[in-house]
Symmetry: C2
Subunit: 339 residues, 2 copies
């Protein structure tokens, strides 16, 4: 059984959406067990009577959305997120899922679960759909953990993204691209120019050079390497653009003349299918990579459906063994470097 | 008459698309005159016989897409872009339009046309549509001129964007937002945190705080301030996402069943209208601001339609007087600072 620790008190719709998502997840996957951390009474009230693999671990505190991350992690010792992270550290659970305060979760992952040897800065890694090939996706790393990354961190991000794309997405030789302001080799700012050199020399990855944000959804590569500031900006630009265009399309159809409305009625299902393919919410969350066990951030405004999808993602990541593979890979590299 | 210098030899479809675009522009606007810089014979062959306000200035060289920018500007003294930039500098033309090598055009603008006093780093400024309010748009600055910007440059970008939004977009009190990795005041990397302080203290702008890339197309502010690396990444992410989603929608309609196809046929015009609203190409180009006269970059793969739109944009910018207003504004500020 895969044990997943879930912070029941984090997120805009906690604990309800979290508890409902957990229930949906154990109904979908027969090989998981969920540990729900949070207020016993509140959680209990949301769980129907019955027998399912969900255990409640009562915690008297919770971390708020506006808490200062590192301070909150250190002071609120009985916060659901903190207790859950410590359980993962002790091996009582295989992964942590939370929709709470992002900064606090990153701090909990880095400080409580702990970095693996050889990675200075764990990064937030997530997948986005390749819109040219149905069912395919690619990795974007870093989605926002390190806003001031140096070239060395971009190199770490490349190794992490490469490992994840192999183990979780099943790409045998992932094409790794460096997000840059042009696709030519000479492009970039100070940091990306230096990172380009490091990645060009790295034999363990298949580096295809610089890629531009306009080409990533078309599947130009399997791993997009970025600093956390730019990666975050690109991710949110994609989300915002998708949302606004789809609104525009459906609005223009609804407000049209009779002919347009009739047409819209006829294509409704087909359009829904298209929109579904682009529903970032149902893809799940972003995982903090470079720490000892999966720590997965769910959208703050996650619905029960998104929570369930993220728990499913946690299960998949645990089963893939990619966290251990990465630690092994980095340890081998360090060993070679010492030879 | 407004005189616009056009580099006939720059861009993927030069000189044909450029010459055709120039012709379309003089047919649309009766108050402009175009100076076409480039190969006399090639341009002449593309111009039909007749009487229109287009003059050809023969140049024996052109700057290639892969030329090293600063070197090309200095060595190719008879290149169409160089001669055109010098004409603007001398006051023989009011603005320069080119679809050629972006780096070279930025260098030509900064080194040949020249910076205004008080601006260290001219920036590429462009407008994008506000998708929530038809006909409205907002400014994004910098779209890619300075990949390694410091906080001081973000402050310059804010002043420039503010002036442009007032003079060209007609916003009486533009809402200026700082592109950041969260909307809370405390968010950011080293540079944006420092810029946040500078912008908070700047009385000449209406600073509304941090904005996220996911909200900009919804019109969260009138001026989005960014460094050139992130601004470029966000711009291209928006372009790429728009393109991929619209392809996905139209593909899913075409490949659908008979009902979907009939529906698609009925909504075709309405959908086209929606797509048109999002056609970044027809919005025109990005202008290098902070130099002495408008230097406008057109997409490299611009069609004649895009070239004409960009010439129209150059005309509008010249008429607005925003380049002189900015110089005046900055001079006043420097004067005050010296008091």
């Amino acid at each position: 059984m895969i044990k997943i620790a879930v912070d029941a008190m984090g997120g805009d719709h906690a604990p309800q959406a979290i508890v409902e998502g957990a229930l949906a997840a154990v109904q979908t996957y027969s090989d998981i067990q969920i540990l729900l951390y949070g207020d016993q009474a509140q959680i209990q009230a949301l769980l129907p009577k019955g027998d399912y693999p969900i255990e409640i671990i009562h915690c008297s505190e919770k971390i708020a959305g506006d808490d200062e991350p590192v301070r909150a992690i250190r002071r609120k010792k009985d916060a659901s997120m903190v207790v859950a992270a410590k359980a993962v550290k002790k091996g009582q659970a295989d992964a942590l899922v939370s929709a709470g305060n992002t900064g606090a979760l990153l701090a909990a992952g880095t400080l409580l679960v702990g970095r693996i040897k050889g990675i200075d800065r764990p990064a937030l890694l997530g997948t986005l759909p390749n819109l040219r090939e149905s069912g395919e996706s690619f990795v974007l790393v870093d989605m926002g953990a390190n806003a001031d990354a140096k070239a060395k961190q971009l190199w770490e991000n490349a190794l992490m993204g490469n490992q994840y794309a192999k183990d979780v997405l099943g790409k045998s030789q992932p094409r790794v691209g460096l997000l840059n302001n042009g696709s030519e080799d000479s492009k970039g700012n100070k940091v990306t120019k230096e990172a380009f050199e490091l990645l060009s020399q790295e034999e363990q990855i298949h580096f295809i050079g610089n890629v531009e944000s306009r080409d990533i959804l078309a599947g130009v590569c399997d791993v997009v390497v970025s600093d956390g500031f730019t990666g975050n900006a690109v991710l949110k630009a994609i989300e915002g653009t998708a949302k606004e265009i789809l609104t525009l399309v459906s609005h223009s159809l609804k407000s049209g003349n009779l002919q347009t409305k009739l047409g819209a009625l006829l294509i409704k299902n087909s359009l829904k299918e298209t929109l579904g393919q682009f529903d970032i919410e149902s893809v799940g969350g972003a995982t903090l990579f470079g720490v000892k066990a999966p720590v997965i951030k769910c959208h703050g405004n996650a619905s029960a459906k998104t929570v369930a999808a993220t728990i499913g993602q946690a299960r998949q990541i645990v089963k893939s063994g990619t966290y251990d593979s990465l630690a092994q890979q980095i340890a081998n590299k360090e060993g070679q470097a010492e030879d």
